[in-house]
Symmetry: C2
Subunit: 232 residues, 2 copies
Amino acid sequence: MNVLSEPMINRRSLSGEIVTHIRRMIVEGQLKPGDKIMEPELCKLFNVSRTPLREAIKVLTAEGLVTVEQNRGARVSRITYKEIADLFPIMGALEALAGELACANASDADIKGMRKLHDQMTRHYRDGDPFQYIEINRQIHQEFFRIAANEALSALYEQLLVRTHAIRFVAKKSPSRWREAMEQHEAMMAAFELRHGNTLGNLLREHLQSKAQMVIEAMSALNLDGQEDPER
Amino acid sequence: MNVLSEPMINRRSLSGEIVTHIRRMIVEGQLKPGDKIMEPELCKLFNVSRTPLREAIKVLTAEGLVTVEQNRGARVSRITYKEIADLFPIMGALEALAGELACANASDADIKGMRKLHDQMTRHYRDGDPFQYIEINRQIHQEFFRIAANEALSALYEQLLVRTHAIRFVAKKSPSRWREAMEQHEAMMAAFELRHGNTLGNLLREHLQSKAQMVIEAMSALNLDGQEDPER
DNA sequence: ATTCTGAATTATGCATTCATTATTCGTTTC
DNA sequence: GAAACGAATAATGAATGCATAATTCAGAAT
């Protein structure tokens, strides 16, 4: 049937491809929390049969991104206050560990690169450019994990990050929160340059704590408690 | 393990059932690291078709318990030094968090219950009964997570615990290591009774560090570097 | 008009089938 | 006798088919 299937050592499984695709759709908000995942619909969209699609759904379920109800199909997981409150401390613990490991492993070049990112972010903060700020911010956190050189840790963190995808759309930093975050980054950068792993770890924990607080505030302001949109 | 509220009528999916079953087979050593997972074979064993079995394999892959090679089927994941060295600090960070949360949340009854378990374990230590010791030890660690009341944290920890299943068969405590572990538990119990979350957290991190050290020693002694048993 | 009922429709869970890709094993060649 | 080739076999990846459960919606009853 698929005569035009591209050659070139296509060594990826279909289901894996679909997992990636759906995950992106969820993270990017194309599929929103609570949305029903209709198998026939997505099959048409991806032009695949139900078998690999269902395998993909199972994987996403294992990741916590999707929830299935017996004989009622799958929907994108909703996230509740409680889960946010639960997940952020975990992410804090993981980032703290990443920070400590990064301090232990970092080469001078690593530290220099981090400083560069930090200064860039500072500029975006001064310019009041939240989009650029967020992007560099993401890179900085990612960089800690790269330097930590612990694959399992990175994978786990990534998984949790994806699970909190829903908050991307509510996380509007108030000016004071933003300033607080910036100050924390300032301190983190300093600790990193001194390779004070313990200090950096504690700062990262606090930082994530603040983020959680911010998200919960934003959620309660919007009344997004995970129960909205009962139908879709 | 996933003990979500069971409706009165058994409404579990076949694939879910299979996941649980295979996971147990792996943890209990019936399926060893590196073992090939033959679909037809397991289908006959469970008396199911390949579809739900394959879905189960995908889930186990997402959990890291199983590894698939394109067009070459799945095998039980082997664990390497590096992975052990990577996973234990993560488990340490998660247990530390659990300990801190447990200190914050524990009722007096919780602390009393923990003391009871601890004393029981101490007796088994004195009696030189490693099996009973290990069992109570497991219960104690599990109890911290229960009191911490953070489902995501418990689930994540459980997942990592399962991934280290292979070490169960190499982890022979030397007398000195055992004494060290016992002393650490002594200190942990004291910190918990005083609700010194920070102290308990640090102790748990150290404790896991020791465990990692022990496991790595045992592995290198047995030359189990994840590459043994090339065929099976 | 609203609620209830039940047939028609649709979606899901699993089994089976089809098409490719690995693997095995017998034969040939050097 | 060992390596190399290739046909036979078996396993995997994906599509399709079938039975059942859920949902929808038209029509009846209140």
